[in-house]
Amino acid sequence: MLSEFEIQAISLSLKVAVSAVGISLPFAILSAWLLTRTQFWLKPLFDALLHLPLVLPPVVIGYLLLISFSPNGFIGAPLAKYLNINISFSWQGAALASAIVAFPLMVRAIRLSLLAVDRNLEQAASTLGASPLRVFSTITLPLMIPGIISGVILAFARSLGEFGATITFVSNIPEITRTIPLAMYSFIQTPGAEYQALRLCIIAIIIALLALIASYWLEHKTLQKISGNKGL
């Protein structure tokens, strides 16, 4: 069926994408909340910075990560010195690159769902004695779930497809940073490896389709629950 090489690339890709989504989700919810529910002086700048990865060439992001997270970089140096962490040229670095590139997509989806939450319901909850934190966790967050799911799926798909920032930041090291797109790139560069490239191409399509189907299913299910049609 799948060659060992393919299995490696797939599992690495999934590991990178899942971690990228996992780390960015809490920050994405927080950012969406800051953007929709608060007013602060630097908000336009914050908004612009947040959306920057969407419009910047991924290579630029990879390059910026490289100069800041390398063992001599202004973030990488203290990380290496005090915490003995070095994420450049590792799968964690690939996850960070994917997370940054996918972040604006996730925030946008979550922000839309937060905007759609009926503030009247939050008011009602507070008159029932719920503290702001309880209102958020029991009313706001559950009502945002469809948006969170679509944000997660979008970010997951974007992470799976990440190429430019990854190859610039963590290079294309077999077994360590060679995700599906990077593996494909390597095959395309190698004369006579068209068949392997095609196989990876089909695998990528299958993963993407599965992710889409999963998202539709989840979204349908939660929407049904929120609108209350039979619920369970």
């Binding site: 009247n120 319901l121 909850a125 008159t127 004695g129 609108s227």
Partner: protein
């Protein structure tokens, strides 16, 4: 409860300085945009005044001098909104229990009572979207009650319902006040709801307190006239059931001065208080009392003219009978021919059939 506040609303300033009884139903009445909803939002803490004091019982909600502004979730209030605002992702049971403190309710006495009173037992497993408007509002009321508030705020809770549902929910609300002995501040612009529910009444106009007092005195106050509408001029009377007719489906109400008013049957025991409204257009005046074999009108009541208000097209005559008042609309022509004056005694004729079911309520 004590309310003294200044707040800026969209178009005007809200200035209130008053005390409201800590029991019964107090209706806040006024046109839309008069500031009634803002007033209870300020009490709930959903809006913030510029200055003033709001306190209920021993809890101070807001005091600008002492820098107190209790957040909504710490105020001992329940709030029933115009729309039910049930949480769509929770079933009825979870909605009911959202503000409910299980440990404070040994053996779930309160829970059972609320479910019983509002008859929502069969709805518990359903989700809000599958409920009718009336059912949703019942659940919303139950949810607010289960929080054990010390004050219940209601913002036109019936206005989103159709007429039969309104009537149904009104009976629940009446029982609610009797069963739970909970002070209720009830915002409405419907005179029917005032008639049914109010003990005390506050009239707001442009953010100012226009009138306040018990319902009868506010309702019959001359300043209330513009609110009652041109052909809706009516007086509110406080009466008691004094007799049932042996042969016909009629009930006699004691007007307080020994005189009786016959209306279609009210199924209440002797002595039960009845609040009644009589429209000014349904009353005619006569100088001499006809006997019951001469006229079809059963109610010919002796009253004293206390006020004559001449308007462009007609004349409103205010009549006193015992502690009650009546308004009668007559033409200018009739006024001249009858030569009526303040202090004069006259007979008011009221057709018994003009008093309909929706015009009275028993307490």
């Amino acid at each position: 409860m004590k309310i003294k506040l200044n707040a800026v609303l969209n178009e005007f300033e809200l200035c209130i300085d008053t005390e409201i009884a800590d029991s019964g139903i107090c209706v806040i009445f006024g046109r839309s945009g008069s500031g009634k909803t803002s007033l209870i939002n300020l009490i709930a803490g959903l809006e913030t005044p510029i200055s003033g004091v709001i306190s209920h019982g021993d809890q101070c909600f807001y005091d600008s001098d002492k820098n107190i502004n209790l957040p909504t979730h710490q105020r001992d209030i329940g709030y029933v909104f115009q729309q039910a605002r049930l949480f769509p992702h929770l079933d009825v049971n979870a909605n009911l229990r959202y503000g409910y403190n299980e440990t404070a309710d040994a053996n779930q006495v309160l829970l059972k009572r609320v479910i019983d009173l509002l008859q929502i037992d069969a709805l518990l497993k359903r989700f809000p979207s599958s409920l009718s408007g009336g059912e949703q509002q019942r659940v919303a009321i139950g949810r607010a009650l289960l929080k054990r508030p010390k004050l219940l705020l209601m913002d036109e809770p019936l206005s989103s319902l159709d007429h039969p549902r309104k009537k149904e929910l009104l009976t629940y609300l009446e029982q609610l006040n009797k069963t739970f002995k909970l002070p209720i501040l009830y915002v409405t612009h419907s005179l029917d709801e005032v008639l049914y529910l109010a003990d005390e009444m506050l009239v707001l106009d442009q953010g100012k307190l226009l009138l306040q007092g018990d319902v009868e005195s506010v309702w019959n106050h001359p300043k209330m006239k513009p609110w009652l509408g041109h052909d809706q001029q009516c007086a509110l009377l406080h009466t008691k059931v004094s007799a049932q007719h042996p042969k016909h489906p009629l009930t006699a109400l004691d007007l307080g001065d020994g005189q009786q008013l016959w209306v279609t049957t009210i199924n209440s025991e002797f002595g039960a208080p009845v609040r009644l409204r009589i429209y000014a257009k349904d009353i005619s005046l006569t100088a001499e009392k006809a006997t019951r074999t001469q006229t079809s009108i059963r109610n010919i009541i002796k009253a004293c003219i206390v006020d004559i208000d001449i308007q462009q097209t007609n004349v409103s005559i205010k009549l006193a009978l015992g502690s009650n008042f009546l308004w009668a609309d007559i033409t200018l022509w009739a006024l001249e021919d009858l030569q009526l004056s303040v202090g004069q005694h006259i007979y008011a004729q009221i057709k018994g059939v003009s008093i309909k079911n929706q015009d009275w309520v028993t307490n």
